[in-house]
């Protein structure tokens, strides 16, 4: 197998994306989690830009720029501010202990690699082999959302899942149409701001960001 160098770099960045997903899964501190999220965005933006350059798909430059602006600069900044205001810089609380989570993560990676193999063989893009990694990122972020208690970490998991989906779109079909991407980016941005307001409301009502308390909201 000899790919051209920019595709090898894309593969390397895909591996980095997976590595960061795992690091997020094992991270215990919220501040560290946000930093890792920013790095994930940076890896995603770089790989999108390289794919854009190597295939001549110009609209991918726009999505790379959007990713850079939103997920590397705007959102981490917003989250850092939020964390400082909410005063939740302490350790993340997990439902399952971290080694078990990592083991489940490995199982998910094997599952998604196997699942993606036949699909990526049908795809005609040069980046098709990274589809498995993109799916693994999505599932790992999903796992993070399931196993974390605090609202902020769940939202970070959601955003990291969006990163994975974005990467899947790039690797399977050179990204979605620009209008869709803009729409998704706007959605995510608005979602983050709305959830930011929610955090304050949740904390005001329950004195904590632990979503366990919301189970009390059931109707009698």
């Amino acid at each position: 197998m000899t790919l051209s160098y920019h595709l090898q770099v894309v593969n390397l960045l895909a591996a980095l994306l997976l590595l960061i997903s795992f690091a997020m899964l094992s991270q215990r501190r919220i501040v560290g989690l946000i930093t890792l999220f920013a790095w994930q965005g940076a890896a995603l933006a770089t790989s999108t830009a390289i794919v854009a350059w190597s295939t001549g798909q110009h609209h991918l430059y726009w999505s790379a720029a959007l990713t850079l602006a939103l997920k590397v600069i705007a959102m981490p900044w917003f989250f850092f501010r939020l964390v400082r205001k909410l005063d939740v810089e302490r350790e993340v609380e997990t439902m399952i202990n971290i080694p078990t989570t990592m083991l489940i993560g490995i199982a998910l990676v094997i599952f998604s690699f196997n699942l993606a193999l036949p699909i990526s063989q049908m795809s005609g893009t040069v980046t098709r082999s990274t589809l498995g990694i993109a799916m693994a990122c999505v599932l790992l972020a999903f796992l993070m959302m399931i196993t974390r208690r605090k609202a902020i970490t769940q939202v970070l998991g959601f955003l990291s899942m969006e990163n994975g989906l974005f990467f899947a779109a790039t690797s399977a079909s050179y990204g979605m149409p620009l209008v869709v991407e803009m729409g998704v980016a706007l959605d995510v941005l608005v979602g983050v701001f709305v959830l930011g307001i929610f955090f304050f409301q949740i904390r005001e009502t329950f004195d904590s960001l632990d979503l366990k308390h919301m189970e009390k909201l059931k109707e009698r």
Binding site: M1, T2, Y5, Q8, V9, N11, L12, A14, A15, L16, L18, L19, F22, S26, I98, P99, M102, L103, G105, I106, V109, I110, F113, L117, S129, T130, G132, I133
Partner: protein, 314 residues
């Protein structure tokens, strides 16, 4: 053949002589990063020399094993340093052991270290030996997985073949090695008794692992153990270089590339030592019970590297 043997002797001697220098460099960088004035770079040599001139004190209950262990540990490390290609590839000694046997050599040294620590019967020695065994039984499989990732790429567990595939064939980026590199860093901190698993400068009974095992040693025995520790760090650095940044190691039988190889080795070791001390300066020592989690993560990352190899590189 004779040039090969000469080169082999040169490489092993270089490793033995340069190892304390690397240790001194790491200590110096660490002192700078912590805002202290650094000890001179040759301090480890002076320590070793001083220790060789002292008279050895042995405990009453020390058996032959206790006296004999430092020599064995030092010999194991010299053997390992001779096998890992540092300046020239495919030397006559390197087929003696592949990477799996290399892990075995490290394990042999460790077993004797732990046995010698328990031999005296002090509580510190036993405590250190137990902790060392806890850490090492988790570190070893992770190290093997790192080697397997490199072996999958080069279809061989022999280090010269791995180096040749990575350095002297067409340049290819292997994403799986990114995972393996992170895992290797985590394992090598554990194996070399450095932060975040163990602190080489502490003598606090709550945290020490390696220092607890060698507390009873003095004079020439201690000197040999300190030297072996430096050699181990050097060998691990050389292993890291051979697996992840092998460019510059002279190809088999190419004498003209040797000066460049020595220069490349020095530069890489300097950068690696600075990186190690930087990572040590910014991270805190983990609680002992977090060590299994840390090493479990290393193991999983190495496994992920293998999986990525099957997905991206075949």
């Amino acid at each position: 053949m004779t040039t090969g043997i000469l080169l082999q002797i040169l490489q092993t001697l270089l490793a033995i002589l340069l190892a304390p220098l690397l240790m001194g460099w790491v200590n110096q960088c660490r002192a700078w990063l912590q805002g202290r004035s650094a000890p001179p770079i040759g301090q480890p040599y002076r320590t070793i020399k001083k220790l060789f001139h002292k008279d050895a004190v042995l405990a009453h209950d020390a058996s032959q094993l206790f006296r004999f262990a430092p020599y064995l540990i030092f010999a194991c490390m010299v053997l390992a340093a001779g096998i890992v290609p540092t300046i020239a590839n495919d030397l006559p000694f390197s087929p003696a052991a592949d990477v799996i046997a290399l892990v075995g050599i490290f394990a042999l040294a460790r077993v004797f270290q732990a046995l010698a620590a328990m031999d005296i019967g002090t509580s510190f020695g036993t405590l250190g030996a137990r902790r060392e065994m806890l850490v090492s039984f988790l570190a070893e499989p992770a190290l093997l997985m790192v080697f397997f990732t490199a072996s999958l790429i080069s279809h061989s567990t022999e280090l010269p073949v791995i180096v040749q595939t990575l350095a002297h064939k067409q340049f290819v980026i292997y994403p799986s090695l990114a995972f393996a590199a992170v895992a290797f860093w985590m394992v090598s901190t554990a194996e070399n008794a450095r932060i975040p698993i163990d602190n080489p400068t502490t003598h606090l009974e709550l945290t020490m692992i390696h220092e607890a095992m060698i507390l009873e040693y003095s004079a020439r025995h201690l000197a040999l153990i300190e030297w072996a520790v430096a050699l181990k760090l050097f060998t691990y650095s050389a292993l890291g270089i051979a697996l992840f940044v092998p460019w510059g190691i002279a190809p088999a039988g190419d004498l003209s590339a040797l000066p460049l190889a020595v220069l490349a080795l020095l530069v890489k070791m300097m950068l690696g030592g600075a990186g190690l001390s930087l990572l040590e300066a910014i991270s805190a020592k983990l609680r002992l019970f977090r060590a299994p989690e840390f090493l479990g993560t290393a193991f999983l990352l190495a496994v992920l590297g293998m999986l990525t190899h099957f997905l991206l590189e075949i």
